[in-house]
């Protein structure tokens, strides 16, 4: 059956309507989980609020396990699901730069949209910086074009890299997530004892 759009089951301009609806649900969930506040998000780095880790890891394992079951039940053609290609060094550098941006700016692009949506000027500042950053990258692209395409490994999965089944990879992620939920709960309890406020609006 699925995925519906790549198989041509949903056609025409309906996909933009669907994109709008999916986007709306995405924005709603980000905001209602507390991601319109940079101080909530940054809590993951200082131990006073692990909401980012909880929402992110829960979503990730639900989608991972769901994809495996959909595949097992024959509901989705996994080969047609997009696996982000890997460019080794550029993606490590990208993650590095974004990590720095994360702890300085307190948002990521998606969460900054929701911060803007409820009137946070720091959300607009982040988004403005983001636009400038992408523009700088594009303008300077000829300088590092070779590096940008280096380390290409194709649309490779985690299981293929470590020569294990993707079912096992998913299982390990689920276990790691549960351990992380427990450990961060303990840390958070301890850190919050010395603070008056740990959840922000």
């Amino acid at each position: 059956m699925g995925p519906l759009i790549p198989q041509g089951i949903i056609t025409g301009q309906w996909d933009f309507v669907i994109a709008l609806l999916i986007g709306t649900a995405f924005g709603f969930l980000l905001e209602s989980s507390g991601f319109s506040s940079s101080r909530n998000i940054a809590g993951v780095f200082y131990g006073y609020n692990f909401v980012v880790l909880r929402v992110f890891f829960t979503a990730m394992i639900v989608a991972m396990v769901g994809l495996l079951y959909f595949n097992y039940l024959g509901w989705i053609e996994l080969d047609m699901v997009f696996v982000l290609p890997t460019y080794l060094a550029p993606m490590i550098l990208g993650g590095f730069i974004m990590g720095l941006g994360f702890v300085i700016g307190g948002f990521c692009p998606g969460t900054s949209y929701t911060a803007c949506a409820i009137g946070k000027l720091d959300g607009f500042a982040f988004l403005g910086g983001f636009i400038i950053g992408v523009f700088i990258f594009a303008e300077a692209f000829p300088l590092f074009e070779n590096f940008y395409y280096s380390g290409y490994m194709g649309n490779i999965t985690i299981g293929e890299v470590f020569s294990v089944s993707n079912e096992l990879v998913t299982f390990i992620f689920v276990i790691m997530a549960i351990v992380a939920f427990y450990v961060t709960w303990l840390i958070e309890k301890k850190v919050r004892k010395n603070r008056t406020e740990s959840k922000f609006e």
């Binding site: 980000l30 979503a59 989608a63 993707n166």
Partner: protein
Amino acid sequence: MKKNSNINKGPRYINPYFGGVLLGLLLLATFYIAGRGLSASGAVKLSIVAIVDKIAPAHAEGNAYYDKFIPTDGSSPLFNWLIFGAIGTFFGGMLSGGIYGRLKKLRIEHSPNITGTTRMIAAVVGGMLFGIGSQFGRGCSSGAALSGTASLSFGGLLVMVFMFGIGYVFAYFFRKLWI
């Protein structure tokens, strides 16, 4: 209800695990419908491509990065799934903020230890870094770290590990901004 809301003065957010399950189901539905995951940074990239292509078409075509994203059939780069998704994300955030009473007048949120100006500068700098990093990373937290890793992409995992890992490495140096 009223009495309860007076006692509990904290912000009203949904349970993070519940939110995570819903977000995971949404991501799964997106994979099922579109064959790809959620995205946030792609919309900004395409908007910039569209603007540069409009103002300086020769410059855009001469630059391999802009040129990569200009549709060959002559349609606008804005006529894209990612743009509609981002518009939705904005309105979804507004909807949630409206329902939970967080949709208010313009304001800067910052730690009491820093000024609003410092927070604004940090937000611009952080945004710029994210803008550059997300292009090298082939996506941001949504497209690469979350959707990429959920579809078991090795590159997605790399972005996720380095994004959070480096955040922890540098957290000490930027602690004044937050705690």
